[in-house]
């Protein structure tokens, strides 16, 4: 326990060490056990999407509809890939991210005016509208059967299924690493700290000459871009997009992972996704039928033991300086 306490004081180094360890573990797992590649990619995708949802949580806002942006990105990828089969996988990803960011820029104008339960429910409502449209417009979207995406080239190479998955895993790992670094930089920037200020005091922001709506709008676009990226990757790895990618259930899973991992550090979402996927895999294998129960109990334990998520346990608590209050 003493050892753990002293390690905890080195909190940020511990997060960095865990991050390196995690990336190396994913890398070796994927190479050693080919079957693990798809679940690893899925976990990383969940992690990146939840990182997006966690950004909004920094401002104290919980969106129950962010899977909408995964759906917009994935369907954009599908439409583009079906119209232009020669387009490269990277270009398709870029299209997906752009489409979700653009949609968020428009929808954001409206939803950043609301806070708390209204923000959450508005996002949910909008995502459900799109979800049902995707299921109904059969001619355009393939209805609930979804749309197939033929395997595109990657870095201008035509790849077999196995190599394609390995490349995607490497790409996901690289993207996740860059995003953890970039999003953490954002959290510590003036914009990111002002975003956290929305959670504690919007009135003061306004009286500092700052627009809380503008700050939240920027964050909203960033968060949607991350969810969009994960949706586009989902589409590529599965070779199929169905309306399920935009369902409220998915949005709920992202919220679940964000709470599990914690929003104190950008890496939290990836940790949450790792635990989420691991619990889901084990529970599904050994306790079929009650895996939701296991997930629920896990979340209750985390909320009771670590209200700031797993990453909150690892973070450095600064020793108080100066006189006692």
């Amino acid at each position: 326990m003493v050892c753990f306490q002293s390690l905890k004081r080195e909190g940020f180094d511990m997060i960095r060490a865990l991050a390196w360890l995690g990336f190396i573990a994913c890398f070796s797992l994927g190479l050693l056990f080919p079957w693990s590649k798809t679940p690893l990619i899925m976990a990383l995708c969940y992690g990146m999407a939840s990182m997006g949802v966690a950004i909004m949580m920094r401002a104290g806002q919980v969106s129950f509809g962010h899977a909408l942006y995964a759906a917009i990105a994935a369907y954009s990828v599908a439409f583009a890939a079906r119209s232009f089969p020669e387009w490269d996988g990277l270009l398709l990803l870029l299209i997906g991210v752009l489409a979700s960011s653009l949609a968020a820029a428009l929808i954001g104008l409206f939803v950043v005016r609301y806070r708390g339960i209204f923000f959450g429910m508005l996002n949910l409502a909008l995502s459900m509208v799109v979800f049902s449209m995707l299921g109904k417009f059969y001619n355009l979207t393939g209805g609930t059967d979804g749309l197939r995406i033929n395997r595109p080239t990657l870095f201008n190479h035509t790849l077999e299924r196995d190599t394609f998955e390995t490349s995607l895993l490497m790409l996901c790992l690289l993207l996740a690493a860059v995003l953890v670094w970039g999003v953490q930089r954002y959290y510590k920037s003036a914009s990111g700290e002002a975003l956290a200020g929305i959670k504690s005091n919007e009135t003061r922001l306004e009286y500092l000459g700052l627009s809380a709506k503008r700050i939240l709008w920027n964050a909203y676009i960033l968060s949607a871009a991350l969810v969009g990226l994960s949706g586009a990757l989902f589409g590529l790895v599965q070779g199929l997009v169905t309306p399920d990618i935009g369902s409220w259930f998915r949005s709920g899973e992202y919220v679940f992972i964000s709470i599990l991992g914690g929003s104190g550090h950008a890496f939290g979402a990836l940790l949450g996704a790792a635990v989420f996927e691991a619990v889901k895999l084990f529970a599904a294998a050994y306790m079929t039928g009650v895996w939701q129960l296991i997930l629920g109990v896990t979340l209750i334990i985390v909320i009771l033991v670590a209200p700031d998520g797993i990453v909150g346990l690892l973070q450095k608590r600064k020793p108080p300086t100066g006189e006692a209050p």
Partner: protein, 247 residues
């Protein structure tokens, strides 16, 4: 002296309660105005109208000769009108220093996305302001850990980071132990003098009004009932009866 803030015919009611009853008011540059009045007399409403938080039913507000009646608080703040609150409005999850850094970043209006907060503001200026209100020792403590008096000082310091020409303070000494009030006001007034900021504060303690104000305005039922040098206003029988309750 020149007029820094001017209102013409400000009028606002909440239901049947008249909170601002045709207020014509001029604040000169360099004044230290104390606003007194009982609870509900309309003191904070007047502040809220002048800072753009509430819109008047009729009338106009001018700051530095510019009409600001229909501007948003953040636009008026940018013109040089700072405000502190009866309940300090702080970023309680941030450290004292970070609170001031966010304020400094706010003044520039451009928030970086990538550069760290402390790198994007002038650290010396933050240090100066911390020293000005005597909070250097608490710089790295969370704002949440501060006692009420220091919270008030941090609230004022955040407003001062914007280099305002006028600072409006709503009850800067409320919630502070009576033996600490004078020390708090000494610190605040010294800071305001050093930064050459015109000030206006709402206050219930007559000793503080007497000691720090150059002008007193007494509010009764949404109106300025008396306005002038402290000695005149505080000896006015109507004010003694209806505001001070001494008679």
């Amino acid at each position: 002296m020149s007029a820094l803030l001017e209102t013409k015919g400000l009028q606002l009611s909440f239901g049947g309660v008249v909170a601002a009853d045709h207020i014509d008011f001029v604040l000169q540059r360099g004044e230290r105005l104390a606003v007194i009045g009982q609870n509900g007399a309309g003191k904070t409403t007047f502040i809220n109208i002048c800072t753009g938080f509430l819109k008047p039913a009729s009338g106009q507000v001018f700051f530095n000769g510019v009409e600001v009646t229909h501007q948003l608080p953040r636009q008026i703040v940018r013109l040089g009108l700072g405000r502190s609150f009866q309940l300090p409005q702080l970023f309680l999850d941030h450290t004292v220093r970070q609170c001031l850094e966010i304020a400094a970043a706010g003044r520039s209006g451009k928030l970086s996305f990538f550069k760290s907060l402390s790198d994007s503001v002038d650290g010396r200026e933050v240090d100066d302001t911390l020293a000005l209100v005597g909070l250097q020792q608490r710089a790295h403590d969370p704002a949440l850990a501060l006692p009420e008096g220091q919270r008030k000082l941090l609230d004022i310091a955040m407003a001062l980071m914007l280099r305002p020409q006028l600072l409006i303070m709503d009850e800067p000494t409320s919630g502070v132990a009576s033996e600490d009030k004078m020390a708090l006001m000494d610190t605040v007034m010294q800071a305001l003098t050093e930064r050459q900021v015109t000030s206006w504060f709402v206050e219930h303690d007559i000793d503080i009004v007497n000691r720090y104000a150059t002008r007193v305005a007494a509010w009764i039922a949404g109106k300025v009932a008396a306005d002038g040098p402290p000695a005149d206003v505080l000896s006015n029988p109507q004010i003694q009866r209806e505001v001070l309750g001494t008679h």
